[in-house]
C-alpha cells in the first residue's frame, strides 16, 4: 500500500466508493483521488471522512452527496464528515489513479521540485498527454479547475491540462 492509501475492510463499501468519481475528472474514483480519508463501520452505520483537494473545490458537496448515495444504496446509514487536516496532497493520488489521469488527457503531477521548474522556470519537462513529447510549454498556471494548469505541446500543437503538484 502506498502513502495516503487507506484500507477499507468492508468489500461492499469499498466497491461503492470505487463507483463514486470526481465530477470534474469522471475517470477517477474518490479512492484513487485520495479524497476518502477514513471509513468506520459500526453495524449498519458508516462514518466516512473526506478531505477537499482545494479549499474552494466546488465538487466537494456533490462528492459528499454521491458517496452517501452510493453507500446508503448498499443498505447502510452513512454520515460524511469533511476534515481539513492533514491537508490533501497530490501524493495521495494512487498509482492507478495517475495512470487513469494520463489516459484521460491530464498530465499527472510531477514531484514538487520538478513541478516548480516546469511551472515557474518554464522548463520543458511535462509530457504531452497526446503525443508524449516533452517539448511543451506552460500557457497558464491556472487551468479549467483550481487543481490544474494549462499547457500546450509545441510538437503536436495540442493543448492539455497538467495536474498541479500540491504538497
Amino acid at each position: 500500500m502506498q502513502e495516503g492509501e487507506i484500507h477499507i475492510e468492508h468489500k461492499e463499501i469499498r466497491e461503492a466508493l470505487f463507483s463514486v468519481t470526481d465530477p470534474e475528472i469522471p475517470v477517477l474514483s474518490v479512492l484513487e483521488m485520495g479524497i476518502v480519508r477514513d471509513v468506520q463501520v459500526e453495524n449498519s452505520k458508516v462514518h466516512i471522512k473526506i478531505t477537499p483537494t482545494y479549499s474552494g473545490c466546488p465538487a466537494m458537496d456533490t462528492i459528499a452527496q454521491d458517496i452517501k448515495f452510493a453507500v446508503d444504496g448498499k443498505g447502510f446509514e452513512t454520515e460524511i464528515e469533511l476534515v481539513l487536516a492533514p491537508a490533501w496532497t497530490t501524493d495521495w493520488i494512487t498509482v492507478e489513479g495517475r495512470k487513469k489521469l494520463e489516459e484521460y488527457g491530464i498530465a499527472a503531477p510531477l514531484e514538487s521540485s520538478l513541478d516548480k521548474r516546469a511551472l515557474i522556470d518554464g522548463e520543458r519537462i511535462v509530457k504531452c498527454t497526446n503525443c508524449g513529447s516533452t517539448n511543451t510549454e506552460v500557457k497558464s498556471q491556472f487551468g479549467s479547475t483550481a487543481c490544474k494548469a494549462l499547457f500546450t505541446c509545441k510538437d503536436c500543437l495540442e493543448p492539455f491540462d497538467y495536474f498541479k503538484c500540491l504538497k
Binding site: 479549499s55 474552494g56 481539513l84 490533501w88 511551472l119 497558464s140 498556471q141 483550481a146 498541479k164 504538497k167
Partner: protein, 251 residues
Amino acid sequence: MEKDNLYQYLLMLGDNSMILGHRLSELCGHGPTLETDIALTNISLDLFGQVRSYFQYAAKLKGGDSSEDKIAFLRYENQHKNVLLVEQPNTDLAHVFTRQFLFDAFHKLLLEDLKTSKDETIQAIAIKSLKEVDYHLRFSAQWMKRLGDGTEESHAKMQTALNHLYPYVYEFFRATDVEKDMKSQGIGVDLEKIQKSYFMMVNDVINASTLTIPETKPRQAEGKIGRHSEQLGYILSDFQYMQRAYPDMVW
C-alpha cells in the same frame, strides 16, 4: 458571543478573503485573455473556499442558528473586518494585479505564521490555504514583473496603481485589540514579526519590476475595526442582494 475575540478574529481572517474573492469574481468573463480570466476566478474560488472554512468554524463557535451563510450575507458594513486594500475597485488590470500582489505577500506570511497557531482549526485552515496562496503569489508577482518591466505604457500604469495602493499596506500591521489578544494567546500572528519580511519581499519584487517604491505616507485605514471606504457599501449591495431580497433563500 459577538464580543468573543476568537470569533472576531475569524471574521477578520475570513473577510479579507471574502471581499477580495468578490472583487475578483467581478472580473469573471471580463479578463483580458481567457487564461487571465480563468486564473483570477480560480484565485477567487480558492479564497471563497478558505472563507467557508473560517466561517463554518465561526458559526460553530457562535452556536444557535448561526451559519456560514448568515455570517457571509447578513452583516452590515461596519461589522466587516477586512482591510481597505482588498475592497479597492478593479480600476484597471494594473490595479487588479498590484492589489493582488500586495495582499498575496501578506497572506502568505500570515498563513505561514498561523501554521503554528495554538488553535487546531485555524492551524488546519492555514496549512491547507498556504498551498493555494503560494500559487496566487507566484501569479501576481510574475505579473508585477511582466507589466512593470514591460512597455512604457504598462510601466506607467503599474506605477500609478502602486502609488495608489501601497499606502494601504500599512494597515495590515496596525494591530487591533483583538489581534493583540489573539497573539498573546498564541492563536494569532505576530504582526510585528511579519512586517519586516513583508516589506523585504514586496520591495524586492517592486525593484525587480523596475518600479519605484512610493514615498507616500501610510493611509488612514481602520477596516479591521469596521470603518470602511465607500467601496464596501457598493460591494455589499451586490454581494448580499439575494439574501436581502429573498431572506433565508437556499439553493
